[in-house]
Subunit: 171 residues, 2 copies
């Protein structure tokens, strides 16, 4: 299953860390790429690409100003993560059957047309929390927890898990 | 099981949104409270308390400058979430047996003494991503997904899940 994340409404001044975390989580938990919309932010893309290079794998990062055109031209289904949507546990079996999935995560205000065009508006609890947590649970449910063991080929850095302390192997 | 989150190294200027998300996620996914350390940030605590009031439940938010004293005086086990630790899937069955658990999530640099004093240093993948995602998976594994249906009594606002659009009931 190929999953692309679309992060709406990035604001370079206010959101750099949240948007960076969205990209890192998308990569670590098995998505294939992330597209940022909102303000163009070269530093954000560069810092993510640096991580990809150091830690391996083939995750793709890009920017797209016209996100509605990206959504309309997407060859596959579209899931929009929102606290107002249908519980993830109710739709995930259906979602998992798709080959190509676009997962939209919002910024502050998501326009109504996104709710309308999405095949699924999906909630991870109906409580206010975090697009990062929503994305995390969503990907975890799609991959049934197997994403936690994902390998990242051609990494320059690799961690060897330790009971205490840090062990990093560098090529 | 009672779970308290300890968020280390908050920086008022740089981290307001990440730290806010940590608190919101802790609450939404079933923890009992969060303690912030690092810089004292009254706005952060106030904005979280406002959410608690509106959305219900009994989650507790506070600040503690001397986090080592809090850890040392904790009556129960301590789990520290770090990408360098042992995979969550290897320790979670043991963790779930505890009655009182302190879960530490780091800021930029976590001092070595935290690694030493923790009963478990726990990783959620050994990839760089987000303390918000690590906390999310950790709580989800502790509660086996049941936290997604958690109720929040005495809420002033409540969402009714919709296939499209938003429905909020306000008291």
């Amino acid at each position: 299953m190929k999953i692309l994340i679309l992060r709406l409404g990035h604001r370079a001044g206010r959101d750099p860390r949240i948007s960076t975390h969205c990209g890192l989580v998308a990569r670590a938990l098995g998505a294939n790429g992330i597209v940022y919309s909102g303000e163009r932010d070269r530093k954000l893309l560069e810092s993510l690409k640096k991580v990809m290079k150091e830690w391996g794998g083939s995750f793709e990062v890009s920017y797209e100003k016209n996100y509605m055109s990206l959504i309309k031209n997407w060859k596959g289904k579209v899931a929009h993560l929102t606290m107002y949507g249908v519980p993830v546990q109710n739709v995930i079996d259906r979602v998992r059957k798709e080959k190509n999935l676009l997962v939209i995560i919002g910024g502050e205000k998501v326009p109504p047309e996104v709710y309308k065009i999405a095949d699924w508006n999906v909630s991870v609890t109906s409580q206010p929390h975090s697009e990062i947590a929503a994305l995390t649970i969503f990907l975890d449910r799609v991959f049934k927890g197997k994403e936690l063991g994902k390998k990242f080929p051609e990494a320059m850095k690799r961690i060897v898990p330790q009971k205490s302390g840090k062990k990093v192997i560098e090529k």
